[in-house]
């Protein structure tokens, strides 16, 4: 029971504690590290807690299901929380040497924890309006993180990010209103039960489309993706790692909730639309990435491409597809964020992340090179790294529904991914140090943060079947609508 709410309460407590010591940076760092460790332990406990029961249910304020807000801890959500907790732990360590005293004075750590509170809330809640509120909570945290050390960057990226995300939230809000007036409820399980019983009400299609539009923008599917590379190269590297690991992934996770739990399986128009968008997004993202010359922009464009993979896995509409999607998200939370941290180390070592100004890191910083290589190859999908299994399960899911176009796209886009990663490798790690530049040392805590994430990625790769069987258990729970609705609405029905 308690495990379902601790992932929200622990970072909240961390944020409040850090706020109390706002003017004592050392203290804040220690608190942040302590709370992040506790969060990691809690995340492991939640994984264990849902490994023998299907789900842990908390009705907030003891209001029974359709009236109150249902917080549901189930395997998929627990997996996401585990990923975000590993990421939080590594980023807090990394930021120990990245975040300056000024940044910490301006509230870097409270904002990080505020964002994590929103993210975990969004993973756990099974109420659509509550999901909207959590969205706004982590958006506020991310807005803050974008401007917390404003002197280093530009306002323009923040303005763009703000406008697009506010619009996406409004779409989501309007969709919510329409859904409430047609279905009469916003509890996901209750909507699912009503839709299964009496068919989709009038206006349901429009409502779901509006909400999906909001999620698609936040996830960064193709027509709406242009803000992602810009926004993710604005904040500090630690914050950018958190953004890349969590923000767009929540869009995907919410799409999973919407298309699997809310929309009945018979309505496959949504999934067909998602499939086309995903294919375009996969290809578009890597093509944009191929033209970029700044590491963070390359990585940002790759996020978009990888989001396409997740959407594709989801669009198969099968249990295996859903599990593959969840596995892919989990793998991305760790690997993609790690690449942002590596970019931070590259910036620290060579003073720039512009690929025309870097070079020679492989000879001078072989450990960094090795860490980058492991993550980059994992992203491209080489065995036995986690990315290989993420793509393997995706391909298996596409074969199951004999979708060969998807198969061709997934393999082709992988090759293009490898191209961009090789570009970073050749320009930043090979070659000579540019004239007039000297390499600076990379602080120990930065390296440690990257090592932790790389080790986690390796562990995920090595224990992939185990993670996948866990995800499949979660997917089975989601796909079996009557079991899910009965479990959440239990007392009422």
């Amino acid at each position: 029971m308690l495990w379902a709410v601790l992932p929200i309460l622990v970072p909240m407590l961390g944020g409040v504690l850090c706020l109390a010591f706002l003017h004592r940076p050392v203290m804040q760092r220690l608190i942040a590290l302590g709370v992040a460790s506790v969060m990691l332990w809690v995340a492991i406990q939640t994984l264990l807690a849902v490994s023998d029961v299907p789900m842990i249910l908390v009705q907030l304020g003891a209001w029974e299901a359709p009236f109150g807000i249902s917080i549901v801890l189930e395997p998929l959500g627990a997996l996401m929380i585990f990923g975000s907790s590993i990421l939080l732990f590594a980023t807090v360590i990394f930021s120990g040497s990245e975040a300056s005293r000024n940044t910490i004075h301006s509230g870097f750590y409270p904002l990080v924890f505020l964002m994590i509170v929103g993210v975990h809330g969004a993973f756990l809640t099974h109420d659509l309006f509550n999901l909207y509120v959590w969205f706004e909570v982590f958006l506020m945290g991310s807005f803050g993180l974008m401007v917390v050390d404003l002197q280093r960057g530009s306002i323009k990226a923040t303005v763009l990010y703000f406008i697009i995300n506010s619009l996406a939230s409004l779409f989501f809000l309007a969709g919510l209103g329409l859904l409430y007036s047609t279905a009469g409820t916003l509890n996901i399980a209750d909507v699912a039960a009503r839709v299964t019983e009496t068919g989709t009400p009038k206006g349901f299609f429009t409502a779901v489309t509006l909400m999906a539009a909001g999620f698609l923008v936040k996830a960064g599917f193709l027509p709406f993706m242009s803000y992602i590379p810009k926004a993710y190269s604005q904040p500090s590297f630690a914050a950018a790692a958190l953004f890349s690991g969590l923000l767009s992934k929540i869009g995907v996770f919410s799409l999973m909730k919407l298309f699997v739990l809310v929309v009945p399986a018979a309505d496959s128009e949504f999934l067909a639309g998602l499939r086309v968008l995903s294919l375009v997004t996969m290809l578009g993202g890597v093509i944009v990435a191929a033209g970029e010359l700044e590491i963070r922009r390359i990585l940002g464009s790759h996020i978009v491409s990888q989001i396409g993979y997740m959407g594709l896995a989801l669009s198969f509409g099968t249990e295996l597809g859903l599990a593959a999607c969840a596995f892919f998200v989990f793998h991305q939370i760790i690997v993609k964020s790690n690449l942002f941290l590596v970019a931070g180390a590259v910036q620290r070592a060579s003073g720039s992340t512009d690929l025309s100004q870097t070079g020679g890191l492989w000879v001078a910083r072989p450990l960094l090179g090795l860490l980058f290589l492991l993550s980059a190859l994992s992203l491209a999908g080489l065995p036995p790294l986690s990315g290989f299994f993420a793509k393997l399960y995706l391909l298996r899911a596409s074969l199951e529904v004999s979708d060969f176009i998807a198969l061709a796209f997934a393999v082709g886009v992988s090759l293009l991914t490898l191209y961009s990663m090789l570009k970073i490798w050749i320009k930043a790690f090979w070659g000579k140090i540019p004239l007039g530049r000297t390499l600076r040392p990379v602080p120990f805590s930065m390296t440690l943060g990257i090592v932790i994430l790389t080790a986690s990625a390796l562990a995920v790769g090595l224990s992939a079947p185990k993670v996948m069987s866990f995800a499949e258990r979660g997917a089975k729970l989601w796909m079996d609508r009557s079991q899910y609705t009965d479990a959440v609405l239990g007392a009422v029905r």
């Binding site: 706004e136 958006l139 401007v147 303005v159 409004l170 309007a174």
Partner: protein, 115 residues
């Protein structure tokens, strides 16, 4: 009644859309606010829109009569308004900061040097 509300939502959304397509940060801010009001009114329509039927439980009844308008959307709107206030404040500070940096109130000209 509902047609009147629909027209109001359409007007607000239309004006908001026009304003966020402008280049001035202040107009974008106003546009976002109008869109927010539009979305909130849109939410309000889901409460049933019946005149003279407040969501009050009669003295002798235990539950709300089915004719009463639904109070929940009003609670939802209240939450959305509070959130909107917070984000608006953030955006205004951002616009102010752009002005302080010596640039005009134009989205193309903020931080000219860094893009």
């Amino acid at each position: 009644m509902i047609v009147l509300y629909a027209l109001m939502v359409a007007t607000l959304m239309g004006a908001g859309t026009y304003l966020i397509l402008q280049k001035s940060l202040l107009r974008i801010f106003l546009g976002l606010s109008l869109l927010g009001y539009g979305a909130n009114l849109f939410l309000f329509i889901s409460s049933g829109m019946r005149r003279g039927s407040p969501p009050l439980i009669d003295e002798l009844d235990v539950v709300l009569s089915p004719e009463a308008s639904d109070p929940l959307p009003q609670a939802l709107i209240l939450t959305a308004i509070v959130i909107g206030l917070g984000t608006s404040a953030f955006f205004l500070v951002l616009a102010r900061r752009a002005a302080d940096d010596g640039e005009r109130d134009n989205i193309d000209h903020i931080d000219r040097e860094s893009v």
